[in-house]
Symmetry: C2
Subunit: 226 residues, 2 copies
């Protein structure tokens, strides 16, 4: 009834994930005692929470991979009828003050994205949440090219944040990785250092992967299956 035990190997995790293909969120939610809201506005994160429990993710809300022992992050990804991602993929929140003290190789973004299990979920908006089906999961590790794209964007954005230009950042920046608000509403504010190191109040933000990027990597992983 409650959460599954943590998988002990990559193969065990993959086998378990593949067994879910074709099942609906309603069916999977029942397994782990999570009820699926009728209103999709009220159920934004529910697919992710159900799959965490069904697959035995361990990390909870910590800044570690969902499958701690395996170093694997779990992401559900909503696909439209043609199999393309319907939304961007949230990676992590941005600690504005910490950005100045880190580099790409030590960044949370790279840690989160080093190994990701993508679980596709049907996302046609006219299908009720509980009836949406899970697809075949893919385990992704960035290719050198993909890492380079991510690093380029991250370093550009990190520099803007570190130098206090955070208010200049918009969702337009970044070829594959973008910075967007990550807050309960548009009036949220948190402290951040400004250009002169003084305090400014700014909106909480997070890193997101663009749909074109996740769509391309999924296409590559599908092609490699053959």
């Amino acid at each position: 009834m409650p959460a599954a035990p943590e998988p002990q190997s990559e193969q065990e995790l993959l086998t378990r994930a593949w067994d879910l293909a074709g099942l609906t969120l309603g069916e999977l939610g029942a397994r782990v005692a999570i009820s699926v809201p009728d209103d999709s506005v009220r159920g934004k994160g529910v697919a992710g929470q159900i799959l965490e429990k069904v697959l035995g993710a361990s990390a909870g809300s910590r800044a570690e991979p969902d499958f701690t022992r395996l170093g694997i992050e779990l992401k559900t990804i909503p696909l439209d009828a043609r199999g393309k991602p319907k939304e961007s993929t949230f990676v992590c929140s941005i600690s504005l003050s910490a950005m100045a003290d880190t580099d790409w190789e030590r960044s949370t973004v790279l840690k989160k994205l080093s190994k990701v299990l993508f679980v596709p979920v049907e996302a046609a908006s006219d299908t009720p949440l509980r009836n949406r089906r899970v697809g075949r999961a893919y385990l992704w590790t960035p290719t050198p090219e993909e890492r380079e794209l991510l690093r380029n964007d991250w370093e550009r954005l990190a520099e803007m944040i570190a130098t206090g230009d955070v208010e200049q950042i918009t969702g337009h920046l970044g070829e594959v990785l973008q910075v967007r608000p990550k807050a309960p509403h548009g009036r949220s504010r948190r402290r951040a250092p400004d250009e002169e190191g003084a305090v400014q109040w700014t909106m909480p933000r997070g890193f997101y992967l663009r749909p074109t990027f996740t769509g391309a990597l999924l296409a590559r992983l599908r092609a490699e299956e053959d």
Copy 2:
């Protein structure tokens, strides 16, 4: 007052074209006795007609390059405020019955595009036609990569036309070259051979270059100036 004489060399044409940069369509139209309509709907082709006369194009409405002696085709290209093409570029009409009897190397598309003088024209829709300014002209010859893109699209589309599948063609096909209606209105019809070689009536169509393609080639030409 009337048309300029035909330029006798590429350099003469380029020099003449560069001298026009910064002038408005109203100013240029006055030079060649073409008045610019106030209503942009009534002035769709007027920029092209003015520049033909101002630069001394020779071919008129024949299936030859505008500058016959130089083998150069003239195209005005509407740019938005950021310098990107606002519209697709018409290349030529399609003779449905002739498509089956030709190949890429002999095609009208390749002939028209072998050497093109692109003359940018401001196209912000809130600027009256007569006040829109001409930019610096670029002479384009397709790179091997660009020719390959064009050939791929052309061959795919030509085959559909030759085999009578012309009704299956939509503007969605073609990465850089597309087929779209080219007619005074949606009820126009002309004869075409169908799958079995019999007669069908279909809408007149033309080949067009996508804005992403012309935008990319202009960006390349601008970069090469430095």
